[in-house]
């Protein structure tokens, strides 16, 4: 069973393809890291896969009705917007919107999903705090909790750990890895290659709009790919940890 299938998905800006015939399939239980330098097309690929951008080719999510898609996949945008001074619990409860009939109050299951998401992100003691008064990193965790509360089989996240402190970055990646072990899947755009190599079961490497490598971290982060795509030298050490050494000469 596939949670997301893309077939020659292409997004053009003018005549220039920003995402160039990308094909892939995401199954259950995968923690997938989407890596690539700035401007490689990671965000555009994720948004087009969700149907938030017009594209050619095929995406199994974009073809669904909006209400069904919102129950199949959650989306965490890169911009961390919380427009109004609402409390943390209210923000996280917004993740239940796709499941709630119009005007219905939170069901016991909704409340359970919200408190589960809060404790998973270490926010149980924050629920009555005003979200807009939290630090940027705390707000980022609140927004991740919102997507967890949506309880979708698939989570697409755009640089969810950017700007988080090291402990929160690791904790967040551990949550994603745990979701994958439970059979849910995560596709997350990442810039930290070491964390990507450590926690992801599979990496997708993008370069100039194309998917140039797709497979286990050891294979995707080959010395040749790292030099060609990122212009860096990196290697896996004896314990299997990935290290970025220096810019490739």
């Amino acid at each position: 069973m596939s949670l997301l299938t893309l077939d020659t998905l292409t997004v053009r800006r003018g005549t220039c393809p920003v995402v160039d015939s990308v094909s892939l399939s995401i199954g259950p239980g995968e923690c997938v890291g989407l890596i690539g330098p700035n401007g490689a097309g990671k965000t555009t690929l994720l948004r087009a896969a969700l149907g938030l951008l017009p594209s050619t080719g095929h995406s199994s999510l974009a073809n669904q009705p909006a209400a069904a898609r919102a129950r199949a996949a959650a989306w965490l945008p890169q911009s961390r917007e919380i427009a109004w001074p609402v409390d943390v619990e209210t923000v996280v409860a917004l993740g239940r919107l796709p499941w709630r009939p119009r005007g219905a109050p939170l069901s016991p299951h909704d409340a359970q999903a919200v408190s589960g998401a809060l404790s998973r992100m270490g926010l149980a003691s924050y629920r009555t705090r005003t979200a807009t008064q939290l630090s940027g990193g705390e707000q980022a965790r609140v927004l991740i909790a919102r997507t967890l509360a949506q309880e979708t089989p698939l989570l697409l996240a755009d640089e969810p750990i950017a700007g988080l402190d090291p402990a929160s970055q690791i904790a967040t990646m551990q949550v994603f890895a745990a979701l994958a072990r439970e059979g849910r899947s995560v596709v997350t755009a990442l810039h930290d290659l070491a964390l990507a190599a450590r926690y992801c079961t599979r990496l997708l490497m993008m370069h100039q709009g194309r998917l140039v490598a797709d497979g286990p971290p050891q294979q995707v982060l080959s010395a040749e790919n790292a030099a060609r795509v990122f212009g860096i030298e990196g290697r896996f050490d004896a314990e299997g940890r990935y290290q970025v050494l220096e810019a490739a000469s």
Binding site: R47, L50, L52, A66, A67, A68, R69, A70, R71, A73, A74, W75, L76, P77, S79, E81, I82, A83, W84, P85, V86, D87, T90, V91, L94, G95, L97, P98, R102, S119, A124, S125, R127, T128, T130, L143, R146, Q150
Partner: protein, 342 residues
């Protein structure tokens, strides 16, 4: 896991309930006050008795034909402005947004001014509000043409500014070419906004459009809540923004267009009321909709009462009072926003 203090949580949860009761009580109180305050000295008891008893006579006539429609219009117009303001702020995620921003008020005022200038308004009473409503509808058509049925909120704001500017320029042109000073002063007075000398005909003209607008705007609550997290997140949660945008534009045009049509241009209610009430609903845009409708009704009733109490013989205009109260609050808001940004 240490749960939150259940008492504190309960208090927080019940706040909207207390707010609703408080706002309804305030509105009812001001509505009754609006019925008993006026130049004709009518006691509270006899006045209310005359309203409900079906007797004939001057007291019943004043109550039924002058004060009751005026108080009802204050509620309808205030609720429309408050609701439209809350919806605009929620959709644009900006506390400085107001119903006039999309150019509907300006266009409706232009329609009314043209009706006054050409003398159409003098032909029959409904001609003036009808012309204002036509102005509002033309504005909606232009907005949809300029900003498209979908697209970012920025294009909506830009289209609104352009239409407001055009309507303002044409209104000035009409004033400029006005044949005599009387026509000009009539136009100027009308543009200041007022509920004086309105009848039930005004109520019946405005009510259907306002009710339609309220239904459309109330239907956007879910989308407005989701928009707290931005347009991308809301769209991905399955909430159609294109549809919400159409409901917003038609809802604001219908409710605010009808308000301008019967009461003239009344500013600041739609800006200030949602701003004051936001903290009492925990910032939730959907809860702010009904709260701002009630708050708007209360604010306009209070403003119309003060018009009658402060300078009863000088015909103080309602829009002048709301602007005098609203502008300092607006300055305070800007000052606070500046401090938060700095």
């Amino acid at each position: 896991m240490a749960g939150p203090d259940p008492i504190a949580l309960e208090a927080r949860r019940s706040q909207p309930g207390i707010l609703a009761v408080g706002l309804v009580a305030l509105t009812v109180f001001l509505f009754l006050a609006a019925l008993v305050v006026g130049p004709a000295r009518i006691g509270i008891g006899p006045g209310l008795a005359a309203l409900f008893s079906g007797t004939e006579g001057p007291t019943a006539l004043v109550m039924r034909e002058i004060r009751l429609p005026r108080a009802i219009l204050a509620v309808l117009v205030g609720a429309s402005l408050g609701l439209a303001g809350a919806a605009m702020q929620g959709y644009l995620r900006n506390p400085l947004a107001e119903p006039g921003l999309i150019g509907v008020s300006g266009a409706a005022a232009l329609g009314a001014v043209i009706a006054l200038q050409t003398g159409i308004a003098a032909i029959a009473m409904p001609a003036l509000p009808a012309a204002a409503l036509i102005g509002a509808l033309i504005a909606v058509g232009l907005i949809l043409l300029l900003a498209g049925p979908r697209g970012a909120s920025l294009t909506l704001i830009l289209a609104g500014i352009a239409i407001s500017a055009l309507a303002g320029a044409l209104t000035s042109l009409v004033l400029n070419l006005s044949p005599n000073p009387f026509a000009a002063s009539e136009i100027v007075f009308w543009m200041m906004g007022s509920l004086a000398d309105r009848s039930f005909t005004h109520v019946w003209i405005a009510l259907p459009f306002m009710a339609l607008g309220w239904v459309l705007l109330a239907g956007t609550g879910r989308v407005l809540d989701a928009l707290t997290l931005g347009e991308d997140a809301a769209e991905a949660m399955g909430l159609g923004l294109a549809r919400a945008r159409l409901m917003l534009v038609f809802g604001v045009a219908s409710a605010v267009g009808a308000s301008v049509a019967v009461a003239g241009a009344i500013g600041f209610v739609g800006l200030v009321v949602p701003h004051i009430l936001r903290r009492f609903v925990g910032g939730r845009p959907s809860a702010l909709l009904w709260a701002s409708a009630l708050g708007g009704a209360a604010m306009l009733l209070a403003a119309d009462l003060s018009v009658r109490l402060i300078l009863p013989e000088r015909d103080l205009k309602l829009g002048v009072v709301t602007a005098l109260v609203g502008a300092p609050l607006f300055l305070h808001l800007i000052y606070k926003t500046r401090k938060e940004v700095a």
